[in-house]
Amino acid sequence: MLNPVGIHAVGLIGPGLADFPSAREILAGREEHLYAPVQIPPTSLLPANERRRTTQTIRLALRAAEEASEGGDRTSMRSVFASSSGDMDIIDRICEALTHPDPAVSPMQFHNSVHNAAAGNWSIATRNPAPATALSGFTGTVAAGLLEAVTLQLSEGGEVLLVCYDVPSMELFREVRPVTENFAFGLRLGPVAGAQWQLRLDPGGNGPETPCRAPALEALRATNPAARALPLLERLAGAHHDAVVLEAPAGRVLGLHVEEATP
């Protein structure tokens, strides 16, 4: 079991989940979840002309980053951007372009095709020179991101922004990559002092994955690798007080032990 870190803020955007405060009653099991497709509100992190130069994938990640970083120092926190697949829309467009003779690849699409496009846009938008990383663990991406962000916080101190996000597949990929919804969430991790919750990771944990308490959320959990975080979000919202077990890469699981801060 690793030493505890503090969770200082949460960001969330998913179908019928507009942000963490408004979703809290749903996650706690006190309100019914009503499906609604994701509308990504414009992020205030980027000016309008810069927003146009980004993609839906970047805007989705930045929306969760913006909410989770609220109240922290955006110009100095380290960041971890975790996504199973990155920007599937760009991959689709470039692979399509490459089927033609003398293919025309858009320079802007190409530089936004890198897996760290959201991380790069975040650091540019916030003028933050701290290290930023981008990773994948397929359907264990949330667990891989948590392990990366928590070990960063424990090694280096300070605040660490974790953002997990994935976009739905293009039509052509619906069978080979069945991701059907947009979903992103973020955590602002930091010292235990002053945090709303304490989080301890158990990388040697075992046992089955924790399902969602609410059937509607459990159905959502399978629609997107980032939505694997929903059982953790239910725990943070107070739906229960049990440990949460998430799928991790390489056939492992990651145990999550959350405690509310004592006032």
């Binding site: 490459l98 690849v105 540019i124």
Partner: protein
């Protein structure tokens, strides 16, 4: 910081398959670049292509992973006794105590490019044998390597463009430091594909001739493919003659997605952090193995960072003229080259350099210089302004 020992490693690139071939090419300045001869790519440029990948598909239980990137991973894993070294590490630590932390920028995207070309003409559907998860998904590389090596420790792929396979060394340090694992397989693989060749071409960053890093006439990159793997363990668990990772530094430019900070501010920050973690001063370095991609802006930015951190005329080398810019594998290639120079006692030359750019103010030389080498600072920088520096040292 507590150093990590590098107890086994291997490299494969256009400059050579395995450490001995790679080190010989490095010492002699023998380039593996050739005119672009990839099917489906029609560009006037040079590439660093690894021979024979087309003829060695992955078979049996690992057939689902078959794609150019994982084939290159497999070819590299078979060199230099690396498989046996991993087996011995499993006996020492246990398969679940060895992490697999690897870097790539484009994973197995060539498999997806090919699947798009083979879509059903009537329905547009992907071919039935296309396997997204085991080829193109960003995690596929670590999935393949962990499965192939029988490892069940924490695993992930870091994909921060051309700094990817340098950053995983820092991840290994944090994972081992936190007690999550006792050892880690790090490194990375990137392989030639239409996306990067046409993408860099669209950004007008590709040279028509073999790349010439740090040269006055440099005109851009040559793209290459490569794989490198390293077994990292706590220094106290390792033989005394193992080279060491003594420092790492990471930073963001916070400037532009595809252009470096003009003054190299982020690069300087990463280099300073690596030195500081190791408790070293700039004058203690034997040389800097630069990122030196050979674009006019990249080399200028990095040279300014070197001047800022180390002062004028810093001793340095750039090796992309041997291998091409291997993108997400560049950090792994550089680390293997740094280890070759520590073990072989030479400062590598800068292949392709004929007329050193005086504006850069560096001490880069065309030919290798034979002399003992104890400390090499390695740079790897990527799109998104993502920077990483590693300090590699000879055994104590």
């Amino acid at each position: 910081m507590n150093a990590l020992a590098i107890t086994a490693h291997t490299q494969t690139s256009a400059a050579g398959t395995g450490n001995a071939a790679g080190a010989a090419a490095l010492r002699a300045g023998r380039s593996g670049l050739r005119r672009c001869d990839l099917p489906d790519v029609d560009l006037e440029t040079f590439i660093g292509r690894v021979e024979g990948l087309e003829d060695h598909p992955l078979e049996g239980e690992l057939a689902a992973f078959d794609c150019r990137n994982n084939r290159l991973a497999e070819l590299a894993l078979q060199q230099d006794g690396f498989l046996a070294a991993v087996d011995a590490a499993i006996r020492r630590h246990g398969a679940d105590r060895i992490a697999v932390l690897l870097g790539t920028s484009t994973s197995g995207i060539a498999a997806t490019e090919e699947a798009y070309r083979r879509r059903d003409p009537a329905t547009g559907a992907l071919p039935p044998d296309y396997d997204y998860r085991h080829t193109q998904n960003m995690y596929s590389l670590a999935d393949y390597v962990a499965t192939r090596l029988g490892l069940s420790g924490p695993a992930m792929v870091v994909s921060t463009a051309c700094s990817s396979s340098a950053k995983v060394f820092a991840d290994a340090w944090r994972h081992i430091h936190a007690g999550i694992c006792d050892a880690a397989i790090v490194g990375g693989v990137d392989s030639l594909c239409g996306m990067t060749l046409y993408g860099f071409n669209a950004l007008q960053l590709v040279a028509p001739e073999p790349c010439t890093p740090l040269d006055r006439q440099r005109r851009g990159i040559s793209i290459g493919e490569a794989a490198g793997f390293f077994l990292l363990e706590r220094a106290e668990d390792a033989p005394a003659d193992a080279p060491r990772l003594t420092g790492h530094g990471e930073s963001s430019d916070a400037h532009h997605m595809s252009a470096p900070h003009p003054e190299g501010a982020g690069a300087a920050r990463a280099m300073r952090e690596a030195l500081q973690r190791a408790g070293r001063e700039g004058h203690e370095l034997d040389y800097v193995l630069m990122h030196a991609t050979a674009t006019p802006a990249n080399d200028r930015s990095e040279a300014r960072a070197l001047a800022d951190v180390l002062g004028p005329r810093a001793r340095c080398a750039g090796t992309k003229g041997l291998t091409g810019h291997t993108l997400g594998a560049a950090g792994a290639v550089g680390a293997a080259q740094a280890l070759a120079s520590l073990a072989g006692g030479f400062v590598p030359g800068t292949a392709g350099l004929t007329d050193p750019d005086p504006e850069l103010g560096l001490d880069a030389r065309a030919a290798s210089e034979e002399r003992p080498v104890r400390r090499v600072l390695l740079n790897a920088f990527g799109f998104g302004g993502n920077n990483c520096s590693l300090l590699l040292e000879a055994p104590c």
